[in-house]
């Protein structure tokens, strides 16, 4: 039986009216008497649904409208138009009742009291979310296992490192075990180990409590490690919404073959191979996008090719015939490249056909 979505967003828009400043002294004076406004469409007509237990990555370039969406979902901003229902609440209309059922972490801010020990903030949160001592102890135990909080709790928050603070903030956001967790750039500025901690923790929480997670990030590793579903937003509109795997399938354009030569004195043979490359491409089209050979160092070469036009087995055969190769790696183009193309408008989003929604929510 298909479950009703936990979060549903329909035709949601947020427009700001911003005051257009004129430059210089004269302009400044004119500003005093006559103001011109321009409307900024931070979010324009977005639609999506999120099922219980899903972990969704919400990505987009700076200023794309990610944070604005999160702020509407958390009841901080009132939308200009559209509808939204989250966990049965209209966030901005039933703010206090609603926020009891969500957890929020803004990577660039903290909800902990800055100048006092973190434990004081936890005590306060336990009280305002009405968490029983037993639940509190049990959850702190779990948080402690994954996040290692114990030694952090008695230190004033301002003295914690960014990674330590983020661990505390995550625990604080989840103290009342909310069914929904919103994370706005939770791994921003963290080192690899700290990022790994955070991701492990999110997976554990999602597994154990079936917490629904919506996270924005610039770090695609977050997405690859945590989310099956990805939403890409730019200039206020959703460009892609679907599984990460399908994004790759549809927009993966190039693959690359890395090959390592057996010895260093094959320059002549390599040059001859490079010279013959156009012959391998269909219709002699050897533009950089179709086939490109780069020498990474003396022994290593990388050949990028358009997977739609050139077959990799043909290429391998040609390489083997031309040079003496010790090792081969065939790789997809990194996901960053795909996203970069989508942001810059190169990828043809019009060709993207949203496949019928899976009715069963993704659970892992």
């Amino acid at each position: 039986m298909p479950e009703a979505p936990l979060i549903s967003v329909h035709a949601l828009s947020k427009h700001y009216r911003s005051f257009k400043r004129r430059e210089g002294i004269l302009g400044g004076l004119r500003n005093l008497f006559h103001r011109e406004y321009q409307t900024v469409k931070a979010v324009e007509n977005i639609n999506f649904e999120i099922g219980r237990g899903e972990m969704v990555g919400y990505i987009g370039p700076n200023g794309a409208g990610k944070s604005t969406t999160i702020k509407m979902l958390t009841g901080i901003l009132v939308p200009t138009s559209g509808e939204m229902l989250s966990n049965g609440f209209v966030p901005w209309r039933q703010r206090t009742a609603y926020v009891k059922t969500i957890g929020v972490v803004f990577g660039q801010r903290t909800q902990l009291w800055w100048d006092i020990a973190a434990i004081e903030s936890f005590k306060l949160l336990r009280r305002i979310y009405d968490v029983s001592q037993r639940d509190y102890d049990e959850r702190m135990e779990l948080f402690n296992q994954v996040l290692g909080l114990t030694e952090l709790l008695d230190v004033p928050v301002r003295k914690l490192s960014l990674g330590q603070r983020m661990r505390c903030d995550l625990a604080a956001a989840l103290l009342h075990n909310p069914p929904i967790l919103f994370l706005d750039e939770p791994t921003i500025g963290l080192d690899v180990v700290a990022k790994d901690h955070i991701r492990q923790f999110l997976r554990a929480i999602n597994e154990r409590y079936k917490t629904t997670v919506l996270l924005t990030t610039h770090d695609l590793d977050d997405i690859e490690e945590l989310c099956r579903r990805i939403m890409i937003i730019d200039r206020g509109t959703v460009l892609y919404d679907g599984p990460l795997s399908r994004l790759k399938e549809q927009f993966l354009r190039t693959k690359q073959i890395k090959f390592i030569l057996r010895d260093g004195d094959q320059s002549a043979r390599l040059a001859a191979f490079e010279h013959n490359l156009p012959a391998l491409a269909p219709n002699g089209d050897s533009s950089a996008a179709t086939l490109r050979l780069e020498r990474l160092d003396e022994m290593t070469c990388r050949l990028r090719f358009d997977r739609a036009r050139v077959s990799s087995s043909d290429l391998i055969r040609q390489i083997l015939a031309a040079v003496d190769v010790r090792d081969f790696v065939i790789e997809d183009e990194p996901i960053e490249e795909i996203i970069k193309r989508i942001y810059s408008g190169e990828a043809e989003m019009s060709s993207y056909q949203p496949v019928e929604k899976d009715s069963s929510p993704v659970t892992r």
Binding site: K71, T74, L77, V78, A97, R109, Y209
Partner: protein, 283 residues
């Protein structure tokens, strides 16, 4: 460890006492938070002492050539008024407006929204915790030193003192409610430094802290009686000195608490209106 639980949606227990406990927790954290800044209060004591000293000598100079009371105040009365006034101010004073302005500029105000409490209640509760702290670390030492250094009259009677305390608590709420209203202006206006400064001088003057209001021309006194400000200092100090009849005292206390309710309600409405159009920095 227990097996995976299904979604334990927080149960909403509508108990008014439980609601108060939440705010009590904010009072506690306001208190604990200010502990981190306790050094500031040692200098605060000196600042308040200097203020009392300055006004002490000003009023002594004013009364130097006087043959009798001025505007109904004798010299000992006015000196007590000044001393008690500053002691009182050390208690009711708070900086909700400045802190809110700072949080709006910083974008931190967003974190207030994600807490399941009334934002106004939260700020007031925090300020209450701070005032409780000030009472111990600022008001009490200032009061002791001032009474040792200057000739301060005792309260007119035990009843007067009790009613003075009730009025002083009202002062805190008027101040807090006003500051919340000013602080909320930061949401549409962003920069409210000028507004905060204007409010500062308006309150120093119209609260009667610097000069008792009956020293002002009649029209200003009448105007002031229709405004909330004089209940911050003038009303409690009049009660302390026993300058009013019991009936008049009770009437003024009622008016003061009417203002408390009215300003809290206004602040509530203003907050709702201001946050409809909110734009939060950083996103």
């Amino acid at each position: 460890m227990a097996a995976a639980q299904t979604f334990p949606l927080p149960v909403h227990k509508p108990s008014p006492l439980a609601g108060l406990k939440v705010y009590a927790e904010f009072v506690r954290i306001g208190f604990v938070n200010i502990l981190a800044f306790r050094l500031r209060y040692y200098t605060g004591i000196i600042t308040y002492l200097i203020n009392v000293t300055v006004y002490f000598f000003i009023w002594r100079a004013v009364f130097a050539n006087a043959t009798g009371p001025i505007a109904g105040f004798s010299l000992p009365q006015i000196l007590t008024y000044v001393s008690a006034g500053w002691i009182l101010r050390s208690f009711y004073w708070n900086t909700i407006d400045q802190e809110m302005a700072y949080e709006v500029i910083d974008g931190k105000i967003a974190m207030d929204f994600i807490k399941p409490v009334s934002v106004q209640g939260m700020w007031l509760a925090r300020a209450m915790g701070e005032s409780a702290f000030r009472l111990i670390l600022l008001t009490a030492p200032t009061a002791i030193i001032v009474t040792l250094l200057f000739p301060v009259l005792p309260p007119a009677s035990k009843l007067n003192f009790a009613l003075f305390l009730a009025a002083a608590i009202g002062s805190f709420f008027i101040m807090g409610a006003l500051n919340f209203i000013i602080g909320t202006c930061a949401i549409p206006l962003t920069s409210i430094l000028a507004l905060i400064r204007a409010k500062f001088w308006l309150i120093e003057l119209l609260s009667g802290l610097l000069i008792p209001l009956n020293f002002f021309p009649r029209p200003i006194q009448v105007l002031s009686s229709w405004l909330p400000f004089e209940h911050i200092a003038y009303t409690p100090l009049q009660i302390y000195l026993g300058r009013l009849s019991l009936a008049e005292t009770l009437r003024l206390l009622a008016v003061e608490y009417f203002w408390v309710a009215a300003l809290l309600f206004l602040g509530h409405l203003w907050w709702i209106r201001a946050t409809r159009k909110i734009t939060i920095h950083g996103g």
